[in-house]
Amino acid sequence: MRLRPHVIVFLAPAVVVYTALMILPLIGTLNLALFSRAPDGGAVFSGLRNFATLFGDPRWSGAFWNALANNAWFFLIHMLVQNPVGIMLAALLSSPRLRMAAFYRTAIFVPTILSFVIVGFVWKLILSPIWGIAPGMLDAVGLKALFAPWLGKEEYALTALALISVWQFVGIPMMLIYAALLSIPDTVIEAAEMDGVTGWSQFWKIKLPLILPSIGIVSILTFVGNFNAFDLIYVAQGALAGPDFSTDILGTFLYRTFFGFQLQIGDPHMGAAIATAMFAIILLGVCIYLFAVQSRMRRYEF
């Protein structure tokens, strides 16, 4: 097809905006990662030396792998808790016998629109061993022995934050899966009823296979969202992602490196190298999903 002038005119706004806001900054970041700070304050071209430092220097690479491992755990918690719970809630919501479904739907979705700052701060208050309400509430049901200062212990802090994030965002998989469940025609469900496929077996044998494409979308959104995460950790634990970096994920690691924090001086070049690595990780994940998973999945027409 010949590229006619009006086609170019119509495409131009999107191309210009996308280029200005996405492509140029991306190229700028990649470019920035290839320079180092010179003693006189300027920048000198240093090729891939920043990456060599990031992966070769024991201190840098230790911090990087720690952040990546934490990030993977953060993602795993979301996949194992947020998405199954979201699917379960959607299944419950789509049950015709449930009363006040609209209320539950809204109530569960509301945290999603709250600011990270509020969520992080509120949960810090709730879980605080000194003035939080969590110890008191556990005490009221006789489970005070279970309480621990979860956000302050290295072994629990990351899991606790991941669960807080799950609490905040469980509404998103719920809504997407709910929409997918609603799109299954009633007659298919009625045919299943006639065939004696009811209750749980109906969910496993009929509904779940039909919402699998939506579960795929939810998974990849979770992956991208988690590997870009930063705000909640920053609000709850600060840029040092304590205790002892146990909640440090790629986003907080990037922030500290790029802008500096307390005694650490910001280094835009090393920061850009970390940002590039994050970009590569997410790109790899999305590619694996698109080529290995999505291409094998089919959307069903009813």
């Binding site: 045919a191 299943a192 009823e193 006639m194 004696g196 496929v197 044998k205 009929i206 069903y300 027409e301």
Partner: protein, 332 residues
Amino acid sequence: MGALSLGNVTKSFGKNRVIQGVDLQVQDGEFCVFVGPSGCGKSTLLRMIAGLEDVTSGDVVLDGVRINDLAPARRGLAMVFQTYALYPHLTVRDNMGLALKQAGVSRDEIRRATDRAASMLALEPCMDRQPAELSGGQRQRVAIGRAIVRRPKLFLFDEPLSNLDAALRVQTRIEIARLHRDLGATMIYVTHDQVEAMTLADRIVVLRAGRIEQVGPPMELYRNPANTFVAGFIGSPQMNFLRAGPLGLASHTLGVRPEHLALSRESGRITGRISHVEMLGSETLVYVRSDDHGLLTVRLFGQHDYHVDEPVFVTPDDAHTFHFDSEGLRLR
């Protein structure tokens, strides 16, 4: 086995009563067709028999067992839906075998049952395909196969041909009739198409506004309609209704089928003007507008050379007329 009996069955949605006390006996092996215009409650009645809708009051009895409160799958019946309602993620074989698998039937048994159904419906080449790879007609045959596999006492068909194109509709209709002969099972079939009703049914149940208007074999309904509604619904093109007064008759309405109106250029009892002509080759339909009776349809066999706006005379054949009173009830 498969004798169904409905005893004063009603259905209400809130205050809205859509089925107004239906009594019906369907004999074992009978092909019974529910017809009626949209919203007459025919599909609702079928879904109540299936167990997909609760019965508000009355008894649904299959082979002497009251099945009102049984789960759909435990009633021993199978349903074919208008939209096929196949499971899109399963192959044709798995679609047909799912009910048996769920009931814990052995793998070999399921294989035998699905193969048997496939050979009855000429579906053998498609058994390992998914529904998306099939044509509309094939999909509907799979849906029928899914019902056959379960060996139900009663088959329920909910407008199964409505989503098919005209040629396929005739073909599938013949197939369903053949299936009924081969299986000898009881079938209840819902349609709004009176041609399907006439060609398939042993007995037709004409419904209007949640009530049975008349029950009987197709030719019985055609020859002896109980009221103007049944008379107008059975037979195509529709029966003409003439006002009896201007014709000097005692009844209120005179019903004449289009083939029993004679058309003439010279003389006749009703004067009118041709408003439209439809030539079908084997027959010609002439629409005549008369001042006293409105638009009348005249059906002539063969090809006739009539033109729009021609003045003509129409005469009913007195041997083939139906008289109705002011309530629309047949006077005999």
